[in-house]
């Protein structure tokens, strides 16, 4: 953390604030207190928190898309019901988070429009394809696992309405995660073909999941002030390390292999690419006990953020389609006033 005293905070502010109010605000945060909607807050805090809640809401909504595609093709009725419930939960998380963001001052309609028009972002991880059922299994274990780790840390944050929303959301994430574990373990206890399919999906999702926590701390532009205000409570690198420590040994135990990044098998997405090599760094450090990993391909990360990932266009197009398709519902709810037309 590079921001320490009040002077340093003041230097980082884009919107100047009254030092006395700023000091009182900081003391409350430092004492572990929460900030409520009606409390005075620095403009930079409001904007940072809004940006975070909106990005999170967008991610929940877009995150439902890759899995939603699989509802009609789920392999059993039980899986279909659970997947429908899971996708419905994610959209519900988006709704709750848009409320939090709205209260911070940005109208919902603008947020939805900004998302459709590419002015705002969502988690990069949802720009990757899910070509097989095993991808659904991998998403629920690995992506929901990453989301839980992140959201557990956000539940320790400072903005009351967001913190309470995180706690509610996490209860549902626990179901997504257990269901994901059950599916991955079922696949890995299955036939050779099922295990191969799971490996191919794991290869597709492992690296996007490591990138899920964001760029290395040294490159992260929003880091320190947000940490100082407990908008974030753990750094990207800390979260990533915790993730690898939990998931790398678990994946290896099921018989999965952790490969270096590389393309999918172009003939058959249900078969791993035989040319992928094992990540040589993925083993526990004998002294610290922490698991190593090769640095993700950050060039790819920035390429995807800029809109050039494998599915960016498709995801945003589908979101825009639903937004336009459901315009009449919004209008019907708001009431049709012929006098105003």
């Amino acid at each position: 953390m590079s921001v320490g005293g009040l002077d340093e905070i003041v230097m980082q502010l884009k919107h100047p604030e009254d030092p006395e109010q700023l000091g009182a605000f900081q003391r409350r945060i430092d004492a572990g207190g929460l900030v409520e909607l009606e409390d005075w807050k620095p403009e930079d805090y409001r904007l940072g928190m809004l940006r975070m809640a909106e990005h999170h809401a967008n991610s929940e909504i877009v995150g439902a898309l890759p899995e939603g595609e699989w509802i009609t093709r789920a392999p059993s009725l039980r899986r279909k019901l659970a997947l429908m419930a899971k996708v419905q939960d994610e959209v519900g998380h988006g709704q709750m988070l848009y409320r939090v963001a709205e209260d911070l001052g940005k109208p919902r309609e603008t947020m939805l429009r900004d998302l459709c028009e590419g002015r705002t972002k969502y988690h990069n991880v949802f720009n990757y394809p899910a070509p097989t059922w095993a991808d659904v299994c991998a998403i629920q274990w690995l992506v929901d696992g990453a989301a839980i780790l992140n959201q557990k840390s956000l539940a320790e944050g400072s903005f009351g309405p967001y913190v309470r929303t995180m706690k509610r959301i996490n209860m549902e994430e626990a179901f997504h995660f257990k269901s994901g574990e059950e599916m991955v373990l079922t696949m890995m206890s299955g036939t050779e073909r099922q295990r191969a399919m799971m490996q191919a999906a794991f290869d597709r999702w492992w690296w996007p999941c490591l990138m899920f926590f964001g760029p290395p701390d040294k490159e992260s532009i929003h880091g320190s002030l947000m940490m100082r205000w407990r908008v974030k409570t753990k750094t990207n690198d800390n979260l990533r390390q915790e993730y690898v420590d939990r998931f790398a040994p678990a994946a290896l135990a099921t018989g999965l292999q952790i490969h270096l990044p590389g393309p999918s098998n172009s003939d058959d997405p249900a078969q791993p690419n035989p040319e992928l090599v094992i990540d040589p760094l993925c083993k526990p450090d004998p002294t610290s006990g922490h698991w190593g990993f090769t640095e993700p391909d950050w060039d790819e990360f920035y390429r995807v953020i800029r809109g050039n990932g494998p599915c960016n266009r498709e995801r945003v197009a589908l979101r825009r389609f639903s937004f336009e398709q459901h315009k009449w519902v919004r209008e019907a709810v708001l009431g049709y006033h012929p006098s105003k037309n």
């Binding site: 419930a85 179901f175 995660f177 059950e182 373990l185 099921t254 018989g255």
Partner: protein, 131 residues
Amino acid sequence: MSLSRIRQLGGQSQSSQPLAQERDLAVFEVFTQRSRGLPHVHAGSLQAPDIDSAVRLAREHYGQDEACTHLWVVAREHLYGSSSEPCPINKAIEHEYRYARNYQGVRTLWKRFRNEQELKEYEKNDLREAY
């Protein structure tokens, strides 16, 4: 009608001046927050002539009985509840798959791959409160 107006009316001795009738008062529901960050929880209700008096009364009655940091007051007529009849759809479909606690079998599956100690280590990061 404001509180002072009621007092004024109440103070009149002439029988020609009607006392404030109960129908002039509305019922307000009170929600208190025990400490910062916790959700507001329903505490009870009170009668008052208007919202300002309701907040004042709520502060006195509910805010002093038990220490609380904040309260919300809502006119009962503005509260809408669901019907208490059980929803037939919820009855017809089992939703057991919606709850993490119903995935106890996952542990058995893990045991095929990991020993008890490894499994315990891995489970440390589970959201235990959800089970």
